[in-house]
């Protein structure tokens, strides 16, 4: 192994942490993808996880995904909460029998030595009502802090996962704070350099947190968001219908599962923004979640009729 330059050390550099994880999972045979180019609430929404978890085909991928949780914005004033943050996502389908060991290996790679750190797997069942997905697994603790989510997907988009995929989600900022020993997200060293050249997380994102908090809580155009939600919902249905295999054709594949799923993602984000603006009542909330779930299920069904979902070309 070649020795790392100091500014790439995951204990000193946020980007060093990301790059170390990418390299580690690349060695486990993962394709290293780039973030999905849409606003999502969690790394799971990336089609590389949601859709690829469905169907029989083996799949290994890892990627960073910016995640938007409009409600979690704190105008940049809370040292632990952000409305935009990074998740590092790994999916291995089927999960290899030694996935726990592989995970512990990744911790070792970023400098968490299990001779001095207390790493624990604490029960945490995962469920995404909007995606119609659930799985069993743990939150992974390091010295009492939750650093990752570890889930064996049982169902996605209302369909049984066969085979089951193992999913790992690392909360990158929190992990980096622990590794770097800082008390505020904004103090994280982003590029690992010192002095004039040092760029902090705050340099990159503080202004964004302030601006988006204003937007999410005060100014987001709710009328437009409601409209966009309806539009996305309609478009999703429309694309799903248009992509259905033609009657009488030899080709039984669905032709537009992915574009339809984009609209499902969009609807979900619109809902999150509306929720943050406080314009969705408790009872309505449930029905919006249900509407997104119906889209996710329909997209999952379509995906299972594509090549990626296991249908022969």
């Amino acid at each position: 192994m070649t020795s790392e330059p100091a500014h790439m050390n995951p204990a000193r550099s946020f980007q060093g942490l990301i790059l170390t994880l990418q390299r580690y999972w690349a060695e486990q045979g993962c394709v290293i993808l780039q973030p999905y180019d849409m606003e999502v609430g969690a790394g799971t929404f990336h089609p590389a996880t949601t859709l690829r978890a469905l169907g029989p085909k083996p799949w290994r991928a890892a990627y960073v995904q910016p995640s938007r949780r409009p409600k979690d914005g704190r105008y940049g004033e809370n040292p632990n909460r952000l409305q935009h943050y990074y998740q590092f996502q790994v999916i291995l389908k089927p999960n290899p029998p030694n996935l726990q060991e592989l995970y512990l290996g990744s911790l070792k790679a970023i400098g968490i030595d299990t001779a001095v750190h207390d790493v624990r797997f604490v029960e945490d069942d995962w469920e995404s009502p909007t995606l119609g997905a659930w799985g069993l697994g743990w939150e992974c603790w390091c010295d009492g802090m939750e650093v990752s989510q570890f889930t064996y997907f049982q169902q996605v988009a209302g369909f049984e996962c066969s085979p089951v995929a193992g999913e790992l989600t690392y909360g990158l900022e929190r992990l980096a704070m622990y590794l770097q020993g800082v008390e505020s997200i904004y103090d994280l060293n982003f590029n690992g350099l010192e002095g004039d050249q040092k760029v902090t997380y705050g340099d990159v994102f503080l202004q964004a947190e302030q601006e988006y908090s204003r937007h999410n809580f005060e100014h987001a155009d709710t009328e437009m968001l409601f409209r966009h939600f309806r539009d996305a919902e309609l478009a999703c249905r429309k694309y799903l219908e248009a992509g259905e295999p033609k009657e009488g054709s030899n080709d039984s594949r669905h032709l537009m599962a992915l574009p339809a799923y984009d609209q499902c993602i969009k609807a979900s984000h619109m809902f999150n923004l509306l929720d943050a603006r406080g314009v969705i009542s408790v009872t309505e909330r449930q029905s919006y979640i249900l509407r997104v779930r119906e889209l996710a299920k329909a997209c999952g069904a379509a995906w299972l009729k594509t090549e990626g979902g296991g249908v022969a070309a």
Binding site: D125, G144, M145, C161, S162, V164
Partner: protein
Amino acid sequence: MPDLLLELFSEEIPARMQRRAAEDLKKLVTDALVERGFLYEGAQAFATPRRLALAVMGLPVKGQDVREERKGPRVGSPDAAIQGFLKGAGLASIDQARIESDPKKGEFYVAVIEKPGRATADVLAEILPQIIRNFPWPKSMRWGAASKDSGSLRWVRPLQSILCTFGPETEDPEIVRFEVDGIASGDVTYGHRFLAPDPIRVRRFDDYVPALERAKVVLDADRRKDMILHDAKDLAFAQGLELVEDEGLLEEVAGLVEWPVVLMGSFDEAFLDIPPEVIRTTIRANQKCFVLRDPATGKLANRFLLTSNLIASDGGRTIVSGNERVVRARLSDAKFFWETDQRVKLEERLEKLKSIVFHEKLGTQYERVERIAALAKEIAPYVGADPALAGRAARLAKADLVTEMVGEFPELQGLMGRYYATLQGENPSVAAAIEEHYKPLGPSDRVPADPVSVAVALADKIDTLVGFWAIDEKPTGSKDPYALRRAALGVIRLVIDNSLRVRLLPAFAVGSRQLKVTDAASETGDDLLSFFADRLKVYLRDQGARHDLIDAVFALGAGSAEGTTGSENAQDDLLMIVRRVEALGRFLDTEDGANLLAGYRRAANILRIEEKKDGRAYDEVPDLQIVNDHGLIEEKALAVVLHQAREETAAAVESEDFEGAMRALSRLRQPVDSFFDKVTVNAEDPAVRANRLRLLNSIREATRTVADFSRIEG
């Protein structure tokens, strides 16, 4: 006698499921063995985060030989019958069957089938895979490549390996060979995930336990608990502190480690300004750590105890500092919530309750608060509370639901309201009621005594009950999603423990009137009251009261005693019912009571027979003229005493003096005894006979003023 050792090694099992799973494993395996005729001397089951283990001691090497005789057809039966018999009994030819004779049937064939007992190990290899496949985990999952097939093994988390040996103490045990979804049983296990991960070869339970100990695994959860508790107390003592014990947390923590190492951390003293319950809840819920207090003052100390799963090479320094960071962040959040919450007065939060739906059909929390406030004011005078204070407390009672703190820690509802109310200068009774109106939460929870708390607690529960009754969401069987039985028991305990006189039906009526449910049926009150009657019976039985006495009092029921109907005379005064049951019990324990009961029974028996014979009832008032003209002295005496006793008993009941009522009744005993001694009921003169039957009826009626004696047993 040989022993069985079974270990199911898996990825981390949720702490809350471990104990139950060990018990289930023991029961399933031993039941399956006993069912097949294999008795054993003892069995023990264990669980750690990564394994379930079972040791069954003193099993036989093989099962009992079984000899079975099977009767066949008569000698000389058609060949088809003979062939069928041979096939069924597994015989090659009819020569192998014995011939027996019977005086009725004549000669017939008998097959003797001898089955040698099967080797225990073979039987185990057959039953264990089934038990593993059908294990009753509360939640289970599929995993890995095998999960592409439907019907693949489900386990709580991926099952990694199976160890199974069987054999006598003196020899090397053998592996009980079987396979479950590609996992073959063997004699290997693994130690602590980080401290001793290498495979360990195991022969039997006796070397399994010490081998695990050497590999830093404490198999027995109770021992892990003892270790944690002992170390925690020691560490606390060394700092002059005291552990705040928490059995639930201890049980959970013991399920999160295979090798417990207790370490102490601390936090900034400034956090001690936060209410201690908040600190404890934060540290417990998020960090699964224990808190400590100063034994001198009883106040929380700025220390906590964590239980790690590691003998760390740096003595735990890194672990402690990591945990301290998290505790610091959590307490900062809590402090922030605590301070922010204080900036908004509770009454200013009410508006927000409008957006919280209590139940789709029962409106928002805001509407509910309005109803509870109105009801609390109505109830207040009956429980000795100031209606204005009760109303105020009820209005503020749910305001803390929209505070940051309760949003984060729902279990602090009520308590936070009390803190914030106190800080904003509310009357102490109002503040207390905000916390206490949820109480009592179960049969062992404390019952509030402050009248304001009682008024709001009753209003809260009655509103809930009346509401769910109105929308027909009553408990059925074991289903009680809204905890309505608990609410009713709460009302009962509030009333009885505080000796309160509260008529339930009027309270139900006030509650019902406020509901916006259009089809709130008028019979809600009576139906709910009978639900209360059932709950009260359960409550009294739990308190040790005789169920027949409870029935005897309840049988008087709605208006039956005086012939009125409807709710006018209903038993909706819980305290009076309880007093009556108590007084009746004491009365029956006296000699007078026991004899009167005997006299009552004699009268009731005669009446039943004669009324049946005559096809009519003798429920008219006895004709005193006939008694005077024809009666014996004992008959006259009874008539006079009966008349007096009835009036006195009724008057005593009217003034709720149940002891007095029983005393009045007890005066009947002597005349009733004498009457039966001297007087023949079935007199020759039909008029005299009829009148005597009416006298007996009067005895029955007199006792009905206090209870239905026919329900009393023994």
